[in-house]
């Protein structure tokens, strides 16, 4: 369990993190989202006692980070895959971390095995690809078999097999009752991984809800219906006071999440349905809607300006 209370960080005039209060609970994967510059990294660094909060408090299982004896046994973090001395071998990198927390040497072999780096354990980290570095960082996080795990952009540089592996790993860790806190920019990936979301923008808490609620609150949900008895179905739905949008072809759409009710209605009136599917917007759409205000580095437009606006002058010749 990680508890934040009024956590604030100022750099001079700029407020990076503003009065954040939330709790990361065990047993689920909690996603940590926000645009670039929202204060995600600063928050994670403060959780690990690397940055000092200007105000407020972070507690790991009720204690301040620097009060933890052998902190790697409480919380393992993957902050930056490149936070490794390139001249040191993967094994020695993990060994020095293990020794600093009184973790047996055997455990280093185990985590190297877990992340699939055993065969390159003796190689210098310098020669590692981004994906291998990421695996090494994950090995470091798992080293102390901690109850709390924190991952910052864990899938960076991993290939699809690696991405699938880390996703499964995080879900497994959560299912074991551990606290898993993961930040990512990949909404589609987050949608597959997280159960709960904490969203910040410009240093402030924007949302702290379950994935389903987040999407439901920040986007349109509807039910798509297809039936060979379209006309009768329309009548039945109208009769029940349900507003139906006819969206071309044989498909009907009903706003909201009333699939159950429609199913029951159809059954009662002996109507055949060929589809009855609740539709949800993607996490990405919901996220974009929520954070539209707080984005740095806006691109000019969604599309590049059409060619006739630029380049005309020089392309003619």
């Amino acid at each position: 369990m990680i508890e934040l209370e009024g956590l604030t960080k100022r750099y001079g005039e700029k407020v990076a993190v503003n009065n954040l209060t939330f709790t990361v609970r065990p047993g689920i994967v909690t996603g940590f989202l926000g645009p670039n510059g929202a204060g995600k990294s600063t928050t994670m660094r403060m959780m690990l006692g690397l940055d000092r909060p200007t105000a407020g408090d972070v507690r790991i299982d009720g204690r301040h980070y620097d009060r933890l004896k052998d902190p790697l046994k409480y919380i393992g973090a993957l902050l930056d895959a490149k936070a490794v001395h390139g001249g040191r071998s993967a094994f020695n990198h993990l060994l020095c971390l293990a020794q600093s927390n009184g973790i047996p040497r055997q455990r280093v072999h185990e985590v190297l095995d877990t992340v699939g780096l055993s065969s390159v354990a003796g190689k210098k980290a310098k020669g590692f690809s981004l994906g291998m570095g990421q695996r090494l960082g994950i090995a470091g996080a798992l080293l102390g078999d901690p109850r709390i795990l924190m991952f910052d952009e864990p899938v960076n540089g991993l290939d699809p097999e690696g991405i699938h592996w880390i996703r499964t790993l995080m879900r497994t860790l959560a299912a074991q009752g551990r606290t898993v806190f993961v930040s990512s920019h990949l909404m589609s990936e987050m949608a597959l991984t997280a159960d709960h979301l904490v969203v910040i923008g410009q240093g402030r808490l924007l949302a702290d809800t379950s994935m389903a609620d987040f999407i439901a609150h920040n986007s349109r949900a509807y039910v798509r219906i297809r039936s060979p008895q379209r006309e009768r179905l329309l009548d039945v739905l109208h009769g029940a006071g349900i507003t139906v949008v006819e969206s071309g072809g044989a498909t009907l759409e009903v706003d909201g999440t009333e699939a159950e009710r429609i199913g029951e209605l159809a059954a009662r009136h002996q109507l055949v349905l060929h589809e009855l599917s609740p539709q949800r917007a993607s996490l990405e759409e919901a996220f974009m809607r929520l954070t539209a205000e707080s984005v740095e580095y806006h691109a000019h437009s969604d599309a590049p300006a059409p060619p006739q606006q630029w380049g005309d002058g020089w392309k003619k010749d």
Partner: protein, 256 residues
């Protein structure tokens, strides 16, 4: 227990990077080879020296002449031990593992200092014996008055130079910046300040000038240095303590 863990961890760190091996061996080799070379030259020149120079001739100090360059390798060792953590980003991993920053710094500097001391003392003795072997008939012996003190002092001097660099690197973090300040300072500026009459009075309180006093057995003729061999080393220790204190305070205060 926790201290033992940090020390074990720091020992793994220091022994698992190539820079430790090459900086320390460079320090040893340069000090020894250059010391022998200058000892050989001095032995050759001795007959042509004036009377005053012959009286002031200090065979022990001559055999340590290589340290003027060898210490630069020690500086690189000291700087890299600390600033590698910053330049690679390892510092965040390290401080997450050992959040007690004082303990972390003490462990790191303690291990590096112990290693530098072993290498420094070995180098001191080796430089002395090799130098004396080359000096032949002009040699000093370890039993002569003040010689043992000078030889051990040579080892301490090399160690303290490394520790001073660690302190500076802890303050500055960047290896390039640290080396860019320390190398020219010890190689050029300190020598200039210490040898130009106008600045000599200040120059001799600089860490290397004061510290190297302990390696002298025969003081220069018109010596007016206001401190003795141990006094000089004490001044150097003060510099080292100041650098470490500065490093500690900044590490404690700063965000990693």
């Amino acid at each position: 227990m926790a201290a033992a863990q940090v020390i074990r961890s720091e020992w793994t760190k220091i022994r698992s990077v190539a820079s430790t091996v090459w900086t320390l061996s460079l320090a040893v080799v340069v000090t020894l080879v250059l010391g022998m070379l200058i000892s050989a030259l001095s032995a050759n020149e001795f007959d042509r020296m004036g009377a005053r120079d012959r009286i002031a001739f200090d065979p022990t100090f001559v055999s340590f002449a290589g340290m003027s360059l060898g210490q630069l390798a020690m500086i690189v060792f000291g700087v890299l031990v600390v600033s590698n953590e910053y330049s690679t980003g390892m510092i965040r991993t390290s401080l997450a593992a050992v959040p007690q920053r004082g303990g972390f710094l003490a462990g790191k500097i303690g291990v590096a200092t112990a290693l530098a001391l072993v290498v420094g003392l070995a180098t001191g003795f080796a430089a002395f014996f090799l130098g004396q072997a080359v000096l032949g008939e002009y040699k000093a012996s370890l039993g002569d008055e003040g010689v043992l003190r000078a030889v051990i002092g040579g080892g301490l001097y090399m160690t303290l130079i490394a520790v001073f660099s660690m302190g500076v690197a802890t303050m500055l973090r960047s290896p390039m910046l640290s080396l860019g300040i320390l190398m020219p300072f010890f190689f050029l500026i300190s020598n200039i300040l210490g040898n130009v009459d106008a600045t000599k009075k200040i120059g001799r309180f600089l860490p290397d000038q004061a510290g190297s006093r302990i390696m002298q057995v025969v003081p220069p003729l018109d010596d007016d240095t206001p401190y003795g061999p141990w006094g000089g080393l004490g001044i150097m220790v003060l510099w080292v303590v100041a650098a470490l204190a500065g490093g500690y305070l900044l590490l404690k205060k700063r965000d990693a």
